[in-house]
Amino acid sequence: MAYLELKNISKTYGQDANTTEVLSDINLNIEEGEFVAIVGFSGSGKTTLVNLINGLLSPTSGEVLFKGQPVVGTSHERGVIFQNYSLLPWLTVYQNVAIAVKEAFPKEGKRFRDTLVREYIEMVNLTRALNKRPKELSGGMKQRVAVARSLAMNPEMIIMDEPLGALDALTRGNLQDEILNIWNKSRRTALLITNDVDEGIYMADRIIPLRPGPNATLGPEFRIDIERPRDKTALNDNPEFMKTRNSIIEYLMDIGSERAANSDVIYELPELEPKDLRWDFKR
C-alpha cells in the first residue's frame, strides 16, 4: 500500500453547461520517504491538485488516500507551503510560527513550544528577524518563515506548491539547498509542485509531468537516479541529468505543440465591405 494514493481523481468546477473539468484521471502513488516533483505549465491545474491532496478541496470523483485513509479536510500530518507565502501580515515571524506550533502541540507547555518555535526559526536562519513583520521581509525570507511554519507542526508529509516560484534565481538556488538539507535530516515524504524542470530534477527522486488542463492528467514518470547529495554545478555535466532533462522538456514541448495544433477553434470573420458615407453627409 502506498503512503499517498490518488485513485482516478477528477475535479470539475462550475455546473451544467459551464462545467470545466480541470483534472481528470489522475493516478499517483507516493511511497513513504520519497521526494516527488510534479512539473507543469502554469494554469495546468497544479494548485487544484495540491489542494486536493492537502484537503482544502475534495475531488468530484475518485479518492485521495493518505496512509490508506481517505482524506477529509486538512490535517497536521500534511504540512503545506503555499506559493504566495500566506503569512499573516499582522503577526511577527515568531508569532506566525507560534500559531502553528500552538495548534499542533496544544498539550505541551509554554516553554516547550517556545523552544520549538525558536528552533525552527533558527533552522531557516531567521533568528535575527524574529520580531519583524512579514512586510519588512524579502520574498526569500518570507518563504523561509512559511517553511518554518509548516515544518514546526511536525508533519509526516510536506506539500510544496511552487514554493520558490516568485523568487529570483539566486535566492531560489539557496532555498532549494536549504529545503533539501531539512528534508535530508528527517526524510519526510515530500511532494513538490513546480514549473521549473531543473529544480525538479535537482530535488526529487521522481518527476511526473502534468499535462495541461482542462482535463489535465499526469504523464509518464521519469526516475532520477542521481546520487544524493547532488552538486548543482556538477549536475550540468552529468549525462544522466542531461538525458532526463531533455526528455522531460521534449515531452512538455510536445504536449504544448500538440495542444496548439489540436485547437479546433476557427474564428469566422464576417464578410464586410467598407461603405462610403461621404455622399450621405453631403445631401
Binding site: 492537502n54 482544502l56 486538512t74 503555499f82 500566506s86 499573516l88 499582522w90 495548534e103 512586510k135 507542526m153
Partner: protein, 366 residues
C-alpha cells in the same frame, strides 16, 4: 534624535511641523523653506482670507440691517427718530444694534465672555458645595438625598456633556455593530437575510430615531424618576451612527483574503481561534474605517438630537441662544459652531491615530 521626533509628530498628526524641525537642524534649507511655505504659511493665509471674507460680508449685512432700521424709523416716527436711530447705531449702544451675522471680532468677544461666564459659574458651584457640605453630611446621615447644584450649566459644562453623550453613543454603536457585523459577515445566509433590513434602516433620519427611542424609553422609565434625556439622546446617537460600522465590519469579515482562510484551515484553527486570530485582524482596517465614519456621524447627529431632545449639551445651547435672541446670541452660536467643528476634527484625528496604531498595514489612512 530629530528623526524620532518627526516620527512621533507624524504619528500624532502633526506631520506638518516636520520642515520646521528640519530647518532648525539646518537640513536642506531651500527645500524646507518651500515646504514651510506650502504646508504652514499657505494654510494660515487661507484662514486669513476666510476671516477677511467673513468680516466684509458681516459688515455688508450689518449695513443692510442698519439702513432698514433707519428707514423704518423714518417712515413710522419721522425724521428726528431716524436721526436718533442713526446716532444710536453709530454709538454702538446695545439697545439698538442690528441683529445679523456677527463679525469675527464680536465672536471673539463672545468667546471670552463665555469663558468668563464659566469661571463665574464654577466659583458659584464651589461656594455652593462648601456651603452645603455640612448640611449634606447631616442629610446623608439621616438617609436623605444630598442637595445638588441646580444652577445654569456653563458653556464648558455643555461641551463636556456633549462629549460624554457622544462617547456613550459611540460605545453603544461599537457594542451593537461590531459583533453583529462579524456574525453577519461570517455567514452568507445571515447576510442576505438581514440585508434588506439594514438597507431600509440605514437611511432613516436621526430625528425619527430620536422619536422611536423616545417612545420606548418613555414607557420603560415610567415608574423611575431618572433623567431620561441623556439616555434618549445617547441611544439615538448610537442607533444613527452604528450603520457605517455594521456594514464595514460585515464587508471586512466577508472579504477576508482566501489565502488567510486557507492558512487557518491548514493550521486547523478552531472556529473561535479563526475569528480572533485571522478574520478579525485582517478586517481591522475596514472596521476602523467604519468606526471613524461612525464617530463623525455620531458627533454630527448629536447636535441635532440634543437640540430636539432638550438634553443638556451643545445642541441645546445653540437652540437656547437662538430662541433667546439677545444681542450677543448670534455670536455665541458662531462660537459654538467653531467649537463643534474643532472637536469633530480632533475626534477624527484621535481615531486616525488609534487606527494607525492597531492596523497591520501602517501605510493606510491619510
Amino acid at each position: 534624535m530629530s528623526d524620532k521626533l518627526i516620527k512621533t509628530m507624524r504619528f500624532i498628526g502633526l506631520g506638518f511641523l516636520e520642515p520646521i524641525i528640519r530647518l532648525t537642524k539646518g537640513e536642506e534649507p531651500n527645500k524646507n523653506l518651500i515646504l514651510i511655505l506650502k504646508k504652514i504659511v499657505a494654510p494660515i493665509a487661507s484662514v486669513f482670507l476666510f476671516l477677511l471674507i467673513w468680516q466684509s460680508s458681516s459688515s455688508a449685512l450689518f449695513n443692510i440691517e442698519a439702513t432698514y432700521r433707519i428707514e423704518k424709523a423714518m417712515n413710522e416716527q419721522g425724521k428726528e427718530a431716524a436721526y436718533a436711530m442713526k446716532l444710536c447705531i453709530a454709538s454702538g449702544a446695545v439697545s439698538c444694534q442690528p441683529n445679523t451675522l456677527p463679525s469675527p471680532s464680536q465672536v471673539k468677544v463672545s468667546f471670552y465672555k463665555l469663558l468668563e461666564d464659566h469661571k463665574i459659574i464654577n466659583a458659584d458651584k464651589k461656594a455652593f458645595k462648601e456651603k452645603t457640605a455640612e448640611l449634606n453630611e447631616k442629610r446623608e446621615a439621616e438617609g436623605k438625598d444630598a442637595i445638588v447644584y441646580t444652577g445654569r450649566p456653563s458653556f464648558v459644562d455643555q461641551i463636556i456633556t456633549s462629549i460624554k453623550t457622544v462617547f456613550a453613543g459611540f460605545l453603544l454603536a461599537i457594542f451593537i455593530a461590531v459583533p453583529i457585523g462579524v456574525i453577519i459577515g461570517l455567514s452568507d445566509t445571515l447576510r442576505s437575510s438581514f440585508n434588506w433590513l439594514i438597507q431600509i434602516l440605514k437611511p432613516v433620519s436621526p430625528v425619527v430615531w430620536l422619536l422611536l427611542v423616545f417612545m420606548i424609553v418613555k414607557t420603560l422609565t415610567k415608574d423611575s424618576d431618572t433623567d431620561s434625556a441623556f439616555i434618549i439622546s445617547f441611544i439615538s446617537v448610537g442607533l444613527c451612527s452604528m450603520w457605517a460600522t455594521l456594514v464595514n465590519t460585515a464587508m471586512g469579515v466577508s472579504t477576508v483574503d482566501q489565502d488567510f482562510i486557507n492558512v487557518a484551515k491548514v493550521l486547523k484553527l478552531g472556529p473561535i481561534q479563526k475569528v480572533f486570530k485571522v478574520i478579525l485582524p485582517s478586517s481591522l482596517p475596514l472596521i476602523f474605517t467604519g468606526l471613524r465614519i461612525t464617530l463623525s456621524v455620531a458627533w454630527m447627529v448629536l447636535i441635532a438630537i440634543e437640540l430636539l431632545a432638550q438634553s443638556p449639551g451643545l445642541g441645546s445651547f445653540v437652540w437656547e441662544e437662538f430662541q433667546n435672541g439677545a444681542n450677543d446670541s448670534n455670536s455665541k452660536i458662531i462660537v459654538a459652531m467653531f467649537v463643534i467643528g474643532i472637536i469633530g476634527f480632533l475626534l477624527d484625528r484621535i481615531m486616525l491615530t488609534i487606527q494607525k496604531f492597531v492596523s497591520f498595514n501602517k501605510n493606510e489612512g491619510s
